[in-house]
Structures are given as C-alpha cells and as structure tokens.
Subunit: 348 residues, 2 copies
DNA sequence: ATGAAAGCGCTAACAT
DNA sequence: ATGTTAGCGCTTTCAT
C-alpha cells in the first residue's frame, strides 16, 4: 500500500497541511515539528504522487519534446543537451518522436503534447510549424520553443545556415577553386534554402558568378532530400558532365548527402579531394571517421539553451519573443583538400 | 479558462457522471443524451486533463524509458520501434537518457521513473540492473522490462550475442582463415563476455585452437570499451606483432570499435580485407557506408516487442517472467573479404 | 504555528 | 438511464 501524506500526518500526529508545508519547505512550521515530520516521512519511505502533485499545483513539471528521429545525430546531440540541463531543474521529458516526415502523426503529437495537464511546455525540433496550428496555439497558455526551425510568434533557437554555407564556399575560394558547385537538398526546406543563399552570396561577393550547371537540387524528396541516396543521384548528374566541365569543388548541403556524393565518386574511381573537393554540413559523427570537411553546429549547446529558454518562458509568459541564432563553424578535415598550388605534394 | 466536464454537464443539462460515461463509452447512457453531450463537448472543444484522469484512474498511461544515449544507433532504432508501437496504444514515453555511464545518474533516474504516479511501467535498456535495486523493485507494483540486458526476475528481450559471434567467426573459417583474432570490449560487460564465448566456441568446434596472442580485450574502459578509441588501441597492439604472427582475420566486438581498428590499419597503410579481414557487430548505420561486414540485431523489432511485453505485463502482473532472445544476422559486406583462394581476383 | 477544509478535474460507486 | 457524491493524493486558503 503506497504511503500518503495522511499516513505521515497520522504517525506524526499533525495535520496534512503541516506535512505538506514541511515537505515543501514552507516557512511557517516550527523546527521540531518539521524535524519530526521529516523523520516519519523518511521512515515510511514516502514518495509524493507525481500526478496528484501536478493536479494540485496545476503544473506537470514535464516538457514535451517533438523530435524527428530521422535527423539522427542532430537530434541525438540536442537531446543530450536537453537531458543534462533539464535534469538539474527537476523536469521530465515526454518524448514524441517522428519516424517519418508524416504530417498526420506530427499533428497528433502536437495535439497530444498540448493536451491539458500533459506538459508545461513543448519544444519543437526541426519541423515546420503549420500556420493554422500556430494561430490556434497562441490561445493556449503553454509556451512552445522552436529549435532548428522558426516562426515569428514563438521563441526560437536556430543556426545560421547562410553563414555556415558562406564559410564553406569561401573556404573553397580561398583554396583557389573557381568552379565551385553545390549539391542541395530540397530548396523548399528552409535550411536548404538558406544554405543555398550562403553559397551564392559567397560566390558573387568574391567575384565568381553562379553557374547553373554546377548546382543540383535534390530529385529524391524523402527527408526533403537530406539523404544519402539524394546525394548519390545528384552527384551522378554532376559526373555525367564531361570532365573539364565539372566543378572542382562541391559544397553539399548535408553530411548524409555527402556520403552519397562520395560513393558516387568512388563508383567513378574518383577521390576527394584529389579529383573533386567536398565540404558537407552538420558534422555528424560519421564525418569525423571519414575525414569529411564540414560545417559544425553547436547541437549540445542548442539543447541546453532551449531548456533555459523554456524555463524563462515558463516564469514569464509575457516577455518579448526571442530568436537566437548560433553561428556554425567550419571544421577542416581531409575532403576539402589544401591550397591548390600545393596539391601536388598531397598524398593520401 | 480551460473547459471541464462540469462545463459540459451544465451546458448539456446533465450530471458530470453522465458526461464522464459518454466520454468513456460506458454503455448505460441513452443514445440521445450521448449525442447531445458529445455535441457540446465538441463545441466547447473539450480536452480531458491528463493528470486528473490519471489520478482518478490510478493509471498514468505513461511508460518510462531509461536509455543510455551513448549506444547511439542501437538506442535510436529501438526507440523508433517503441515509439511506433506505443503510439497505437495511447501511451506516452517519458525519456530518461544517460549521457555517461554514471551510476549515480542511473539511480536517480531509476528512482524517478519508479516514483508513485509517474509511469505505469519502466523499460530499461542496455544497462545492468544493480542487484540491490532489483530486490527493492520487486516490492513495487510496477512492471519493468529489460531490453538488451537481463535479470532472472524480470521480463527481458535480448539478442543472442553468442550466436552472432559464432556466426561471424564461422564465416572467417568458411572463408579459409586459420589465424582468427578477436578484439573485444571489456569482458566484464555481459555482451562482451557472450561475444567472446561465441568466438571461442566457433574456433574450438571447428578444429582451431584459441590463441591468446590473437585476442585483445579493451584497455580503455570508457563505455566498457565499446568505443572507437578502444578499438584503435587494441588494433595497434595487434599490429605491433611481426607481420607473419598477426591474425589474418579479426572479429571485433562492436562496429564502433571496428572503426578504430580500421583507422589503425590505415595508419599502418593496411587495408581490409586485403591485409586483414574484419567483421564487426551491431550494424550501425556507419557500417553500411564503409562496407563493414557485421552482425545485425533486429533493433526496431526489439523495440516493438518490448512494448508488447510491457502491455501484457500491465494486463497480467502475475504471469510467468519471460525471456526472449533474438538471433542476430551476419551481414556480409566488403571488409571480410571472399574465399581465400579467390582473393587474387579481388580488387577494390 | 497548525488543523480543518476546500479545491484541482476526473472516475466510479451509489442511489434513484 | 441518470444525478449525486465520495474519493484519487496533494496544495493552499482560512480559521484559530
């Protein structure tokens, strides 16, 4: 039989109110009754009932996290940041993981996460918030933090995709490349769009012109083109070009795509960086293993920060909406090659 | 102001009991009142309060999952199975992710997950259950399912590590290898121990003897030796041997370790399978990318099954404890090489 | 400082 | 078939 505060009250010969007070560190209770109650509580091995507490306090101490599993390492690392931080704050995480980019499932999660008495707030990851839901949501008294996606009416934490793409492309330019291509995911996805813009800006701001032949967007739409297969297919298109019409360097909009790109090259007996230099985006764990130069996002930090934002918001519902953007970092490894003039000296 | 069943009752001119009955599909309510109540509930956009329901029903409809994040893809895939299955059953997942193999954090999670009114059951992944906790837990009326770990007193779902290791080793034998080594994680970990047994059994049952020089267990203890670094260090030890005293094939106890093994080989200008053939274990996503032959576990299925077990157990607390073991499958890719006699014909 | 009692929003037993 | 009421286990106001 589970022990309740009534059991404690009876054994300690006090009222339940007093028990509740000592358990919650309320000031108005004499030191000796406090001590006595605490002792009894401990002896009885008392544990508060989470749901009963939540109901009475009108607070669940739970945060719902809606996360697309298919972002793999991205989500995994962000989640670690969240977990570490939230732990110290006494909150629990309710997980809603999307296996597919399925709008219906997404909506059912959204509904569930926003159900009364389920969670104090919801964190949404890498998912475009449907506008109709955004409107509806604003009337619910429950904060929502957007991570790796944005909407003007909600707090968001993102990464500056444009800056990352710019840095990657600029690096190629600094290395002496002039024929710089890009293999993009589906440009309908905001990150893909932003990365494209960064790429193009780096080109034009540095005296190079954008060449349509060097740019391929994804033909495979699964995961918005952020997939190995999509990268493979796009690279095959590039390799269809006569050798001297090909780009000498390619910025790929994600590391998974870069995997496919590298496979395609291998199938043509080509190597990076010797034949074509490659830079990816994301810095998934794999990237390190294969020496892929890429753009790294502070995922763990983003997770930590998002929890901070959530708690701020929980404490102050009416503060101004904030948008925080992290600047990603170029991680130079092998696949981008070195200064073109030195290339002859490079061996694998 | 959130709408409650009292609001519905008032508007529909019925008692709250009736409202509750129609909302819960109880039989004793006339079709027309049912319809009326339903209509009002819909118009008022009613949502039940999760915690209030839980308190009254003495049921949270939540399952706690304690998962080591550092198992990466293993956990990710299992989690996908769980999520897909649990979704169809109206349960939610409370996530407790371990970032490090930290016993203290583990215990605090265990405590939290088993707190009254927090979750109806807990699923424990890849984590050795401390015996003292197992004893204590048996008195709690809350089922626990063990996944990828085992304890005689609790339902468990595991993979037959021994059989997987046997299959991997046997494959080397079939390929004509005679000097077959193993690079193991920390043998204190049950999976490592079991994989070692399978390796040894395959050797001795097929007329080969176990050679201590060909066997290395992990010197690096982080993650029980299931790490890239541990694999790297162990392989370096192997490569310290004179060339003709080295094994010609090595079974590695995990894919992450195999990554390190491959790096070590690269640093010695060696290649798999040409110089030394390699087979891993786990079939992480990476394995496919780099052509690593490995042993694959039905992770998604295990997740699905674990949820099934949990619900069975929730429905019948006193049924006999079950232990289910999946047989893993050898996935043949490039790093194990082909029949030794044909080797000359192979080119990368 | 402390006890009694009224909620929190729901379910379920008990009347009728 | 339906309304009323007593919990579920806790917090918090209101007396004292």
């Amino acid at each position: 039989m589970p022990v309740t505060i009534y059991d404690i009250a009876k054994t300690a010969s006090v009222g339940v109110g007093t028990v509740s007070r000592v358990l919650n560190n309320h000031p108005n209770v004499s030191p000796k009754t406090r001590e006595r109650v605490l002792k009894v509580a401990h002896e009885l091995n008392y544990q508060p009932h989470a749901f009963a507490q939540g109901l009475a306090r009108k607070k669940t101490n739970t945060i719902a996290a809606i996360i697309p599993f298919f972002t793999n390492y991205f989500f995994l690392e962000v989640l670690q940041g969240i977990q570490d931080k939230i732990l110290t704050l006494g909150y629990d995480i309710m997980l809603y993981g999307l296996n597919e980019n399925d709008p219906e499932q997404f909506e059912s999660y959204l509904l569930r996460a926003t159900q009364k008495g389920r969670a104090d707030g919801v964190m949404l990851f890498s998912l475009r918030l449907p506008e109709f839901f955004a409107q509806k949501y604003k009337h619910i008294n429950q904060p929502m933090i957007l991570v790796d996606c944005a909407h003007q009416d909600f707090d968001s934490i993102t990464v500056d995709n444009r800056a990352g793409a710019y840095a990657a492309t600029k690096h190629f330019i600094d290395l002496g490349h002039e024929k710089i291509g890009m293999i993009n995911a589906n440009p309908i996805s905001p990150p893909a769009q932003q990365r494209f813009e960064g790429y193009k800006a780096a080109l034009t701001e540095n005296g190079l012109s954008f060449n349509q032949n060097f740019y391929k967007s994804s033909k495979i739409m699964k995961y918005d083109g952020f997939s190995r297969e999509a990268g493979y297919v796009s690279m095959m298109e590039v390799l269809d070009l006569p050798k001297d019409e090909r780009p000498t360097a390619i910025f790929v909009s994600s590391d998974v795509q870069a995997m496919g790109v590298l496979s395609a090259m291998r199938d043509h007996n080509l190597q990076a960086p010797d034949d074509i230099a490659i830079v990816g985006f994301d810095d998934i764990e794999l990237a390190q293993h294969i020496g892929l130069t890429t753009v790294s996002q502070p995922m763990y930090e983003m997770g930590v920060l998002s929890v901070g934002r959530m708690l701020d918001r929980l404490a102050n519902r009416n503060g101004a909406v904030t948008h925080t953007s992290f600047t990603p970092k170029l991680i130079i490894r092998e696949t981008c090659g070195q200064l073109k003039t030195k290339l002859a000296a490079v061996d694998e």
